[in-house]
């Protein structure tokens, strides 16, 4: 395995870096927050991302996409971390596309993937029901009816659930919460009768949805994959999502370090730059080292997705653990090393910790994945 970027991936990285530095960043996030933006992201920025072809990156060419690698998409995700750039890209172009590719029928792929590539369709995964994520802890259920199913239940923390055109809903067609069998996936338009969506403003200024399904009629053709067998594609897609979230967390951590080192070189106390103090030098150097390790883990994890590695679950959990731990350290340390000004809303560094903790918790924090890693490793 080559742990360097190829030309195409390097190009994606550089273009994402320059585009997002110019067009996103904490100033845009501040504007979104202070104007009470109803969707929690800049529609203008999203339009530009569509024009750049970003939603089509992971979509194979036969469905109108660019067919780039996960490593390439990971570079984009990392830069969205550096620049705190919110958009429907993650939920639609990473998570949604992955589920359709993992479980969608040929007809479903051909119908929906080109729409995503063109920027005409957004998706959201309605999965978790409890305050700490767990894909097995599903109570929402479907019962069979003539011509399809009736769906009842509630979902929370649905990323983009308030704006997505279609919801991918995981629901029990058999079994009980905690069972690994009996989970099925459905593609349901958000405006279907019986669906009630309410938004929750989160600390990262993004809005997530709570969704209530009351006797929602779902057609047979809306089932994605095999009935009762949804966990396999769901797990595969969550592995992909967690590796891309790791890339975002890596971007957040790198940006925190960069901003902190810059501050250490500017801020004077006792007549000298505070970066001349060994106590701070060693903290910054430790953080730099941890981020270097995280870079390798994330890059190898992205590469393993492109190589269709067999142990994707182990790799994804290892990647999420490392990225969560490093992002946690970086965001905490950057506030401490900024001192009092790091605690002010006026200064930008505080935006990073708010996004990091949510990205950490999304689809399992480092504790969840450490446990999963040990379990998958046979102890």
């Amino acid at each position: 395995m080559q742990l360097i970027l190829n030309e195409e991936e390097q190009m994606v990285r550089e273009s994402a870096q320059s585009f997002l530095t110019d067009n996103a960043g904490p100033s845009l996030l501040r504007e979104i927050r202070d104007t009470n933006n109803p969707v929690g992201y800049s529609q203008n920025l999203w339009q530009q991302m569509i024009e750049l072809g970003w939603p089509s990156l992971l979509i194979p060419e036969q469905y109108g996409g660019l067919g780039f690698s996960h490593v390439a998409m990971g570079q984009l995700m990392e830069q969205t971390g550096n620049n705190l750039a919110n958009s429907p890209m993650f939920a639609t172009a990473v998570l949604g596309v992955s589920i359709l590719l993992e479980a969608g029928s040929e007809q479903q792929r051909a119908q929906w993937l080109p729409e995503i590539a063109m920027g005409n369709l957004t998706l959201a995964l309605a999965l978790d029901e409890t305050t700490r994520p767990d894909p097995l802890n599903i109570a929402a259920s479907v019962t069979k009816s003539t011509g399809g199913f009736i769906l009842n239940g509630g979902k929370s923390m649905v990323v983009d659930g308030q704006i997505a055109d279609q919801l991918i809903v995981s629901a029990r067609s058999a079994g009980r919460p905690g069972d690994s069998g009996g989970i099925s996936l459905f593609l349901i338009p958000r405006d279907t009768p019986g669906i009630e969506v309410s938004g929750t403003l989160m600390m990262d200024s993004r809005i997530t949805a709570n969704i209530q399904f009351s006797d929602v009629t779902v057609g047979k053709d809306q089932l994605i994959g095999t009935l009762d067998q949804g966990l396999v594609p769901l797990t595969a897609a969550l592995n992909i999502a967690n590796i891309h979230l790791s890339a975002e967390l890596l971007g957040i951590a790198s940006e925190c370090l960069q901003r902190t080192v810059r501050y250490l070189k500017e801020r004077k106390q006792f007549g000298v730059n505070i970066g001349s103090f060994q106590a701070l030098q060693h903290r910054a150097a430790t953080l730099w080292s941890d981020i270097e390790l995280c870079k390798s883990t994330v890059l190898a994890a992205l590469r393993s997705l492109d190589d269709s590695a067999e142990n994707a679950s182990v790799i994804a959990s290892a990647s999420k653990v490392k990225a969560c731990k490093v992002a946690q350290l970086a965001t905490n340390e950057s506030i401490q090393m900024h001192g009092g000004i790091g605690m002010t809303d006026e200064f930008d560094i505080g935006f990073f910790i708010k996004r990091a903790r949510i990205a950490q918790m999304l689809f399992g924090d480092h504790r969840y994945h450490l446990n999963r890693y040990a379990e998958l490793s046979g102890y």
């Binding site: 395995m1 080559q2 742990l3 360097i4 080192v261 250490l264 070189k265 970066g275 001349s276 060994q278 701070l280 030098q281 060693h282 910054a284 150097a285 430790t286 730099w288 080292s289 270097e292 390790l293 995280c294 870079k295 390798s296 883990t297 890059l299 190898a300 290892a318 653990v321 490392k322 450490l370 446990n371 890693y373 040990a374 379990e375 490793s377 046979g378 102890y379």
Partner: protein, 383 residues
């Protein structure tokens, strides 16, 4: 088929035919092959394996062929490494020569020096030790005082070195000495001499582990001809820094020795499981975290090498050293915790000795604090 794929197939076939079966097993520390004039091979296979690999120059795969090296490109060397790992082949030679002084002679030495020393290094015939630290020059290495008095064609050296790894078993020393006492960094030279030279005395140092990998080396009027200076006189610090980079990278790989059982397997055997989980749930979490960090470090060694066009990884070696040694200490702590009192006996092969020895990892080759200084100053530009 690409050249590299052809190389891989040829290499695989050659290894299949030439690596003795007993050299494809996990290697206990005591069976590491150090080579040297007085080396006693632990088996005929060990000797055969070294000879076969040395004949191809694969004990120093990227060294030029004209000195006996393998003449491989960086990519070919990586393939060789992967193919060796694939059959769990033992390293044919553990050597300060191929790892440290060899690359320095190649980079800075005269043609005569290269011809004199490189073939013996590559064949494992001469074992080398490193004369760096002194009683008053530890972290402040450039403060060394071993004095080299200029006598025209040669130097006469007086001083004391300490923490000289395996000085008692080595044939030659590469040694930092002071050739100009009025300058600090600018008064240091790197010289080579035979440990059998008159005036060289070696005394092993017993560590808290009860073992003695290190020595004190006393230099009493030792004569060194000027043609044994590597690079320019008084320019030894630049070479020392180059060598320290190699040493840090090497120490960063400490603990990356294939073992028969993983730490987790040993913990499971010792503690047992309940419902598939290790019975000690706190240790279980520590183990998982260590494994993830260890893999992360291995991947980082690989990535840093992939990113580097030249042989040296530069200042990143400080991070590899810092993290690699901490991980080895964590591994030893986990093994002690897993195996409990069984690991704490004072028998010769006790885990306790390895655990105690590992405490030196974050000190030798530059303390962790020195590594952090290097990262802060040279990489982050703080100062």
């Amino acid at each position: 088929m690409s050249d590299l794929m052809t190389f891989r197939e040829d290499t695989r076939r050659w290894l299949e035919e030439n690596c003795p079966a007993s050299m494809r097993t996990y290697m206990p520390e005591s069976e590491k092959c150090w080579g040297g004039r007085d080396y006693v091979f632990s088996s005929d296979d060990q000797k055969l394996w070294l000879t076969r690999m040395a004949d191809r120059g694969w004990t120093a795969p990227t060294f030029p062929k004209k000195y006996g090296g393998g003449g491989l490109s960086k990519d070919q060397a990586k393939v060789l490494k992967e193919e060796l790992a694939a059959i769990t082949a033992r390293a044919p030679l553990a050597s300060m020569g191929t790892e440290m002084i060899g690359p320095a002679i190649l980079e800075f030495g005269t043609e005569d020096l290269k011809q004199q020393h490189l073939p013996g290094i590559i064949r494992g015939e001469i074992r080398w030790c490193q004369g760096y630290s002194e009683p008053n020059a530890g972290s402040d290495l450039a403060g060394l005082q071993a004095n080299a008095e200029d006598r025209g064609d040669y130097f006469v050296i007086n001083g004391q070195k300490v923490w000289t790894s395996y000085a008692d078993k080595s044939d030659w020393m590469f040694c930092l000495v002071k050739t100009n006492t009025t300058a600090k960094h600018g008064g240091i030279s790197l010289v080579l001499f035979d440990m059998k030279s008159p005036g060289v005395t070696v005394r092993p140092i017993q560590l808290i582990s009860g073992r003695s990998p290190f020595c004190e080396t006393f230099l009493d009027n030792v004569r060194v001809d000027k043609d044994q200076v590597v690079g320019e006189i008084n320019n030894g610090w630049a070479i020392a820094k180059y060598l320290l980079t190699h040493e840090r990278e090497m120490l960063g790989r400490i603990g990356n020795v294939p073992a028969e059982k993983t730490v987790a397997q040993r913990a499971v055997e010792s503690i047992g499981t309940k419902d598939g989980h290790l019975k000690d749930s706190v240790l279980r979490a520590e183990l998982a975290e260590w494994e993830i960090d260890f893999q992360s470090h291995q991947l980082t060694i690989e990535r840093v090498r992939d990113e580097t066009a030249v042989a040296s990884v530069g200042n990143s070696s400080a991070m590899l050293k810092l993290y690699g040694t901490q991980l080895n200490q964590r591994r030893r702590e986990l093994l002690i915790a897993s195996e409990g009192f069984d690991a704490m006996s004072w028998s010769q092969d006790s885990e306790a000795r390895l655990w105690l020895r590992s405490k030196g990892n974050t000190i030798e080759g530059g303390t962790s604090e020195v590594q952090l200084n290097i990262i802060a100053k040279r990489i982050l530009g703080l100062g």
